[in-house]
């Protein structure tokens, strides 16, 4: 019948198996302590990269918003005034442009409608 190891023997056995070599531990300590100089520079680089990224984002956003901006509004609808003078119909726009529509020509005389634009073009 074999004896089971005591718990503290187990601790010692585990520690012995896991023990790192001194050189590795010293190397790690030295690198960690040397991180002092590298840290601020890395922070500066990170800040610079973040600044550039932010500027690019702002520029891209501005460009996107410009491209998405609503096109120029359609021209405002203008009201038309329609009046009749005898057999003539006069259509007048707000800006003064006027159309005069005459009666259809009698048969045999062409069958056309005179359409006259008056006012400024």
């Amino acid at each position: 019948m074999h004896e089971e190891p005591e718990p503290l023997d187990v601790d010692a056995r585990v520690r012995a198996a896991l023990a790192p070599d001194d050189q590795a531990a010293r190397r790690i300590v030295a690198r960690a302590l040397a991180a002092r100089e590298a840290a601020p520079r890395r922070r500066r680089q990170a800040a610079l990269a973040a600044g550039i990224a932010a500027a690019l984002l702002v520029a891209a956003g501005a460009r996107l918003s410009r491209s998405r901006r609503a096109p120029a509004p359609p021209p405002r609808e203008q009201s038309l005034a329609v009046s009749g003078q005898g057999r003539m119909v006069v259509v007048e726009r707000e800006d003064g442009r006027r159309w005069i529509v005459g009666p259809p020509a009698p048969a045999g005389h062409g069958g056309y409608v005179i359409f006259v634009a008056s006012g400024r073009e």
Binding site: V10, A19, A24, A25, V29, A32, A35
Partner: protein
């Protein structure tokens, strides 16, 4: 507290803990390096943390978990590469022959929380209060886990053919 003395005391404990968690010396040294660098920077920026031990082991726990998860994800690729190489790497072969392999195999067969408590105590050399805080447990529960893990580990390591069985499993 002297930063260099604290770092020198923490480094071997961190490596041992990370080695037990990951089973690879290279990963263990990377994890220890990151944790130690983090505490050095924190120390210089804001002064020493309330508990440097708790600070570094909290980082080491997270990093070890990530390293294991990464390895689990890469396992299929590694398996293919392993087959292609027709054998273990030099490091794996060396580890496989050592007492480390037996201890690691025994530790891996413990329940996850028991194992974590045991490693933080034996490899990390943390006190029960710190272990309880790190494992989100109570000191009484941590003590119970530690005691159970030690008993189980002692039994496993006393089995003469344990290493052989676990190595071939």
């Amino acid at each position: 507290m002297d930063l260099e003395a604290v770092a020198a005391a923490l480094a071997p404990r961190l490596i041992a803990y990370a080695l037990a968690r990951t089973g690879r010396r290279a990963d263990a040294e990377d994890i220890a390096q990151e944790a130690l660098t983090a505490v050095v920077r924190r120390w210089r920026r804001e002064g020493p943390p309330a508990s440097p031990d708790a600070f570094v082991f909290a980082i080491a726990r997270r990093r070890a978990g990530r390293a294991n998860a990464r390895r689990a994800l890469a396992a299929p690729l590694d398996a293919v590469r392993h087959v292609a190489q027709r054998g273990p790497s030099v490091e794996e072969a060396a580890v496989g022959r050592s007492a480390l392999a037996e201890v690691l195999a025994a530790i891996r067969s413990l329940a996850r929380r028991d194992r974590e408590t045991l490693l933080l105590r034996i490899a990390g050399e943390l006190d029960i209060a710190s272990i309880a805080a790190l494992t989100h447990s109570t000191p009484a529960a941590a003590k119970m886990r530690l005691s159970r893990a030690r008993r189980r580990l002692a039994a496993l390591l006393s089995e003469p053919d344990h290493a052989r069985r676990t190595r071939t499993a």
